[in-house]
């Protein structure tokens, strides 16, 4: 069965039933058919009431579709709930849907203080009928919204009491609301200019081992670029063309914790990372993402390996959407050391979030291996990407 069931029978019914039984005995003594009819009629009404409450919703089925829909903020969407009733008719019940506040039903004012949105819908369903309820909403905030609970209040058809059905299993429909980007200053200025291994259209560096072909010599070309064999073959000087390469590959590491709690700037940080993700998508820069939120698996935190393109962007946005204040965090230093020991090394390290002394030491260590450090700061509704310079600790000689 799909439901947890609670029956709330009217408390006065047992009392009246007692009187009815006494009335039956009285009717036998005073030989009154009317009194007997009254008592028996009421008793059967009570029995019917009891049976109805016991059976109501027994064969009411809810179709639990597994569906993941993705939205940007202010997008409109809908969940559809399908019910099928093979049991007793349900007259003027009430369906209550509880869902996360990341989405809100249309027309409803958005208030951040609410933890859960609740909607009640009149619900009547005759035997052998199906009902599809479409629940329209608009995405309000970053997050993954799920329907947390369904409750159906079925009042007794005969009139005394009601049965409450509560969904037993998770409802699998979810709406992912992607984070909104906020402008991040200094992003373009920090574009990579170092030598690396990634092929790019424009760069001052070239891969001397991977050459593409030759072209005619122009006087500004250096002699060591002349392809002698090709020149002989072509009977004219030829210059080698190399692949332009640049060092690429970022790692964005987000520290969500602030002491023992989640940082207050979480939304701004995530929005800044979103902006960086879009930027990287347009410039075709591969990047990976680490967030110190505890997960199950071989990597104990959220980690997306290096990638680029549309699919990677989608994964990143979904990961960012899944972060919430209720997550339990992992020590940032632990994540950094895990990264430096087990994960693919990237030459640009972008740090976001709180930085402690220990973090500084770890970051310094990373920079010793050649990574260039950046950090995202939050300044009045926009992010600021700047180079992070950490001076090694000075130890006095004693």
């Amino acid at each position: 069965m799909n439901w947890n069931k609670y029956t709330l029978e009217d408390r006065k019914i047992p009392g009246i039933t007692g009187f009815a039984i006494v009335l039956i005995i009285v009717s036998l003594y005073i030989q009154s058919k009317l009194v007997l009819f009254l008592a028996v009629f009421f008793l059967f009404v009570v029995i019917c009431n009891h049976l109805y409450l016991k059976r109501a919703g027994d064969r009411l089925f809810f179709e639990n579709i597994s569906e993941k829909q993705r939205y940007f903020v202010n997008d409109k969407g809908q969940w559809s709930l399908t019910f099928r009733n093979d049991g007793d008719p349900i007259l003027k019940g009430e369906l209550k849907v509880y869902f996360d506040q990341y989405v809100a039903s249309e027309g409803e004012k958005f208030e951040s203080s609410h933890l859960m949105n609740e909607i009640s819908i009149p619900f009547s369903l005759y035997t052998k009928q199906t009902k599809k309820i479409n629940l329209s909403f608009s995405a309000k905030r970053r997050g993954i919204a799920k329907i947390r609970k369904l409750e159906i209040y079925i009042p007794s058809l005969v009139g005394f009491g009601e049965t409450v059905l509560e969904s037993k299993y998770f409802i699998k429909q979810q709406a992912v609301v992607y984070p909104e980007p906020i402008p991040v200053k200094g992003l373009k200025e920090q574009m990579s200019v170092h030598q690396g291994v990634n092929v790019v259209p424009y760069s001052v560096y070239e891969d001397r081992l991977g050459y593409l072909g030759t072209r005619d010599y122009v006087p500004s070309d250096s002699f060591n670029r002349i392809h002698w064999k090709a020149s002989v073959r072509k009977q004219g000087l030829q210059t080698k063309i190399y692949e332009k390469i640049s060092e690429k590959g970022w790692i964005i590491a987000l520290n969500v914790s602030d002491g023992h709690s989640i940082t207050g700037n979480l939304e701004e940080l995530l929005s800044s990372i979103t902006e960086i993700a879009y930027f990287a998508f347009h410039k075709q820069i591969p990047y990976s993402l680490c967030i110190n939120v505890r997960t199950a698996g071989s990597t104990p935190f959220h980690y997306l390996p290096k990638g680029e393109g549309k699919e990677h962007l989608q994964k990143v946005l979904e990961t960012l959407a899944s972060i919430s204040n209720q997550n339990s965090s992992l020590p940032y230093e632990y994540m950094l050391s895990f990264y430096s020991m087990h994960l693919e090394y990237q030459s640009f390290f972008i740090h976001a979030g709180i930085r402690t002394e220990d973090t500084n030491r770890m970051l310094l260590n990373l920079s010793k291996y050649g990574a260039t450090l950046f950090q995202i700061k939050i300044e009045q509704e926009h992010g600021l990407l700047s180079e992070l310079v950490i001076h090694p600790e000075r130890r006095g000689l004693l």
């Binding site: 009246i16 030989q31 009254l38 203080s113 058809l157």
Partner: protein, 420 residues
């Protein structure tokens, strides 16, 4: 119009309960109480007063005393009944009309049904004992009460749906028809049931006597063996005083009777105390409940004390402030009150009231600024406060329901634990 119908429906149930209690006084006189006159007067007046309240709101109350009340008294004069009863009836109708009109959903039909059955049971037994000729009228009233409760409850739900109306109606009337048929069938079999019932009773008595007889004979035998001397001595002593002993036996029974009565009363008193005690105990055992946690935190802010002193202050002069004051008072009753450090907006947010920003702005203007309120603003506030009260009631109801479910879950879990 729905509201008027609901008021009339509920008042009809109350009238029937009233009639049944009226029968108690008339059984001795072997007369039929003036049901028709009372019924006509009551139903006519309740329809008029609810219509007046719908049309004229608060002015309707005054209009009732000008128009309907004198009319009722004039008709009452035609009958031979005393005038003060007529005045009482008019006032009762006025009270019930207003109270039902304010909130119909608050009143439970099953309580009325319970009371009707209780009074009906007493009246039926009493009338059967005194051979009252109008007993069947009473029973018809009881049946009518039951049928009105059933159909009224169903109709209220049925009226609100749009699809499949006929199907649902058919289903309900099928159930009712089956129940009526079963009831009628059993009623026809009254004589056989009576026969079976008394046969069972006789059988039980027979069983008891057949078990008791040998026991008593054994006892007799045992007494004859052991207790011979004592009994003999008794007999000797009693022989001369036989007549006197017979006379003394009556007071001795009285003594046991009075002891029994005292025990019975003591038992009843203990039972009542137990009930009170249980009621007191209940909130203590259920402190796991989240809503009671909230009251604990209220205690920390010393909200209870300060709010108490706040209610002792006179309500403010300004109409808008008075309305808000009344709302706070009402919320306090429902345990959703405003804490002393909260602004109006914060309070509404915490409790979950959806009030408009305009009304907050008006209140703040009146409360903290120099501004005086306009007439339109007063009307707006009044309308809004009425809605807010309704919302408060709904919130309270949902909290109570949650509590109820929580309790039932808890008790289920407890019983499971005990079972294991």
């Amino acid at each position: 119009m729905n509201r008027v119908a609901a008021v009339i429906y509920h008042f009809t149930l109350e009238i029937i309960l009233g009639f049944l209690s009226l029968f108690l006084f008339y059984i001795n006189k072997k007369q039929l109480p003036p049901i028709l006159l009372l019924g006509a007067l009551c139903s006519g007046s309740i329809i008029l007063i609810s219509l007046l309240l719908v049309k004229f709101r608060n002015k309707g109350k005054g209009l009732y005393f000008i128009t309907v009340f004198p009319l009722l008294l004039v008709i009452w004069q035609q009958s031979d009944l005393p005038l003060f009863m007529g005045i009482g009836l008019g006032l009762i109708i006025f009270w019930r009309g207003i109270s039902l009109f304010d909130d119909v959903s608050d009143h439970s039909e099953s309580l009325l049904l319970l009371l009707s059955f209780f009074i009906g049971l007493i009246a039926i037994i009493y009338s059967a004992m005194s051979g009252y000729p109008y007993q069947s009228e009473m029973i018809y009233l009881l049946i009518a009460q039951l049928v009105i409760v059933l159909i009224g409850g169903y109709f209220r739900k049925w009226n609100l749906i749009k699809k499949d109306k006929s199907k649902f109606a058919l289903y309900f009337f099928n159930i009712m028809a089956v129940i009526t048929a079963i009831g009628a069938m059993i009623t026809i079999l009254l004589k056989y049931i009576q026969f079976i019932f008394f046969a069972i009773l006789q059988f039980i008595v027979f069983l008891f006597t057949s078990v008791a007889e040998p026991l008593f004979s054994i006892l007799q035998y045992l007494f004859s063996l052991v207790g011979n001397d004592g009994r003999k001595a008794n007999l000797i002593r009693g022989r001369g005083l036989l007549d006197v002993a017979d006379k003394y036996q009556v007071p001795s029974y009285e003594k046991t009777e009075s002891i029994l009565y005292i025990l019975l009363i003591l038992g009843a008193v203990i039972f009542i105390f137990y009930l009170f005690y249980k009621k007191k105990l209940k909130p203590q055992t259920l402190t796991i409940d989240s809503s009671s946690v909230i009251t604990v935190s209220e205690g920390m802010f010393r909200a209870g004390q300060s709010t108490l002193s706040r209610w002792r202050i006179k309500p403010p002069e300004d109409i808008i402030r008075r309305e808000i004051f009344e709302l706070e008072k009402y919320a306090q009753k429902l345990k959703l009150g405003r804490l002393p450090f909260e602004t109006l907006e914060e309070w509404w947010k915490r409790v979950g009231l959806l009030g408009s920003n305009d009304s907050i702005a008006i209140y703040e203007k009146v409360r903290y600024g120099d501004g005086t309120s306009l007439y339109e603003e007063q009307i707006l506030i009044k309308r809004e406060i009425r809605q807010l009260k309704q919302q408060l009631k709904n919130i309270r109801k949902s909290i109570l329901e949650k509590k109820k479910i929580h309790n039932s879950k808890l008790s289920k879990r407890l019983s499971l634990k005990n079972f294991i």
